[in-house]
């Protein structure tokens, strides 16, 4: 890719962002992902595809989501002017649905008749089950047993939507194992099955196509902030697990060097404790789930457990485009702890009347660190990528409250 003019042209034809990405999958799956790549290339050139996508985003998802000035948070931090991109107001309560709409349209175009997905917190599972109900397609969602325990409401939601939730008892019983199991299902059902991956990871072309479907977030922010303030923002902040909401927000701004981009990883109990999910802060490059990227791993190349209070960030890897943006220095990556995220969750609820998910609470916790030192005319946009209703039980437990 030509890095001299633009940072937005990746990946190359083999799916690489610098040395990251690629297609590290078993031979059985290779013809499938090559087929997907071909169909996606054709779809992206097809105006009818995008017009159906945009129509569904508008009338089914409820986009564009508002860009909301947060007056009391701004006042409390006493520095930068803070805006929230309200993707928690989307149908199903998070940004995940943007990508699911795009992928199910692709699945229909490819004449696939069955959908599978992996989920951690359950948000991607719910979004997938939702689009499957909307289009009348059978849906199987793989979810680690550990996550099922801590996300019961979402499990019930998926079942109400008609999806089969298959508990995954292998490995550490969390998101990475759910992804392993979904890949195993796909290998065994190659003829009729489409795998809707929930984040900007996996084998090429997934990181690129998920990014393209999520880029609606950043594209809307560009228009909305110009309308509100007459200029582009100074700083964008988003939380990162696999990194799809952050990539969707950042990508349209990669070639605007004056816009500072900050990705916030889950620091769990503290990066120094080893119990965290901060792949870029504390991991190193490796190969998992079809792509080369930063991974939490031990000296022998075995994948470590990730830990976060937020099930949605609890993944030991990160999308390969983030790995590349980290290495080239275009995006800053930081981490905040469970405790800091919990405090931000409460602050946002009390001061703005918005219950954020624990995932964007991480982003807000970092905003709390940087905003006070920034001038009042500094425009900061944070992606409020999910609502917190699903998290009230986890939060109650963390605060020692019995419901």
């Amino acid at each position: 890719m030509d890095q001299s003019n633009t940072l937005r042209s990746g990946p190359d034809e083999d799916g690489h962002f610098g040395t990251y990405g690629g297609r590290f999958v078993a031979e059985t799956l290779m013809p499938l992902i090559l087929d997907l790549e071909e169909h996606y290339a054709a779809a992206s050139r097809d105006e009818a595809f995008w017009s159906e996508f945009n129509d569904l985003l508008k009338h089914y998802v409820g986009r564009p989501s508002p860009l909301t000035f947060a007056p009391r948070i701004t006042e409390r931090f006493g520095g930068a002017k803070i805006y929230f991109k309200r993707d928690e107001l989307n149908h199903t309560g998070a940004h995940k649905i943007n990508n699911c709409i795009g992928q199910i349209l692709l699945a229909r175009r490819m004449k696939k008749t069955r959908i599978i997905a992996e989920t951690g917190a359950g948000q991607h599972g719910v979004a997938t089950a939702t689009v499957c109900a909307r289009f009348g397609m059978p849906c199987t969602v793989y979810m680690g047993e550990t996550d099922i325990e801590r996300q019961q409401p979402n499990v019930f939601r998926m079942r109400l939507l008609g999806a089969e939730v298959r508990p995954v008892s292998s490995g550490t019983r969390t998101l990475k194992d759910a992804m392993n199991e979904a890949l195993r299902d796909w290998v065994a059902n190659v003829e009729d099955t489409f795998y809707i991956i929930g984040t900007v990871a996996g084998p090429h072309p997934y990181p690129a196509l998920v990014r393209d479907f999520q880029a609606v977030i950043g594209n809307e922010v560009r228009e909305q902030i110009v309308e509100a303030e007459g200029r582009l923002p100074d700083t964008l902040v988003a939380c990162i697990g696999g990194g799809s909401n952050a990539m969707g927000l950042f990508h349209p701004f990669l070639d605007d060097p004056d816009v500072r981009l900050v990705g916030v990883e889950a620091g769990g109990e503290g990066v120094e404790t080893g119990r965290h999910a901060a792949s870029l802060t504390a991991g190193r490059p490796g190969v998992l789930h079809g792509n080369r990227t930063y991974l939490l791993q031990n000296d022998d190349g075995q994948i470590n457990d990730a830990h976060s209070i937020s099930a949605g960030l609890d993944y030991p890897g990160i999308g390969p485009e983030h790995a590349w943006l980290h290495d080239v220095g275009r995006v800053e990556y930081v981490s905040v702890t469970d405790t800091e995220a919990l405090a931000a969750f409460q602050l946002c609820t009390e001061l703005e009347g918005i219950l954020p998910a624990l995932e964007p609470s991480h982003a807000l916790a970092h905003v709390a660190k940087i905003a006070p030192d920034l001038p009042a005319d500094h425009l900061l946009v944070m992606n409020l990528c999910g609502r917190g209703d699903k998290d009230v039980f986890s939060v109650a437990e963390a605060l020692g409250v019995e419901l």
């Binding site: 297609r23 031979e27 013809p31 392993n180 080369r292």
Partner: protein, 275 residues
């Protein structure tokens, strides 16, 4: 060093019989018992040994090999330890080919150059790395070939005639035909369908073809041995380890002997040029 894989398949062809390829996971159920299992395999009837390099996230494997990998890792197995096991085996057996099988990340983490140097030194003959398709040949396949280590390719029912040439381009040693679309140890392809697939592949290559994924019994092994150059059994063997962790070497040997009898009963029991 002569190529042990080529020599072994040449001998099998001369004897007009199929070979038995056995898969066990290095370090399962523990380092000491795993060494005994490995040492006993040739005597029990293994013609080629596939030794699994355990990985925390074996995406292409079924429950039996997943559990086996986790047992080995829990018992402290590392890639360095696996290479040491091969070297130790090699000091007592210079003929039985050993193929290391697993996933790329532990090798990438170890360092490709260092890994190839140590694998060559230990007496490794070939590699099967499940998540390195031909599109990624520059990662490990080409450097391994340059060191004289065979890179064994998997072909599957989804590998059509259009794709087969790229799968075969840098393949060496033998070709591993996965008889089903699916994960290891679940089911086995119908023998006539497998025979048809082998005929199709043989139009493209002269490499010997081993068939695996889901072969568990001597009867299944015998049916596949009618047409394949070798039969691969893995999940059933690591299942035997799981059943008898205290006595795994004996349990594995016993099953290998039965499977070998199955393989030898194929092709009218033709052996040693006596047919």
């Amino acid at each position: 060093m002569s190529n042990r894989i080529d020599a072994r398949f040449r001998r099998l062809a001369e004897e007009r019989r199929a070979g038995l390829v056995t898969f066990v996971t290095a370090g399962d159920p523990n380092p000491a018992e795993s060494r005994r299992i490995l040492a006993d395999l040739p005597r029990a009837g293994a013609d080629v040994i596939e030794l699994g390099m355990p990985f925390s996230d074996p995406m292409a494997d079924g429950p039996a090999i997943q559990k086996s990998s986790l047992r080995a890792l829990k018992a402290g197995q590392t890639l360095a330890e696996t290479l040491a096991m091969v070297a130790e085996f090699r000091s007592g057996d210079d003929a039985t080919p050993i193929v290391l099988m697993g996933y790329y990340n532990p090798i990438f983490s170890y360092g490709v150059d260092r890994f190839l140097e140590d694998a060559t030194g230990a007496g490794v003959d070939g590699l099967i790395v499940v998540d390195l398709p031909p599109e990624a040949d520059s990662e490990l396949c080409l450097p391994a070939r340059a060191c004289g280590i065979d890179f064994i390719r998997l072909a599957t029912p989804t590998t059509d005639d259009r794709r087969l040439p790229s799968v075969l381009r840098n393949a060496s040693g033998f070709l591993y035909y996965v008889s089903i679309t699916g994960i290891t140890g679940t089911r086995v392809g119908e023998s006539d369908v497998v025979a048809g697939a082998l005929a199709r592949i043989r139009a493209h290559t002269t490499l010997p073809i081993a068939v695996g994924f889901g072969i568990r019994s001597p009867e299944q092994a015998s049916r596949i041995a009618e047409t394949a150059d070798a039969v691969v059994v893995g999940s059933a063997l690591v299942g035997a380890v799981e059943q008898a962790p205290g006595n795994a070497a004996a349990a594995v040997s016993e099953l290998v002997e039965e499977l070998k009898a199955g393989v030898l009963s194929a092709r009218g029991g033709a052996r040693g040029g006596r047919a």
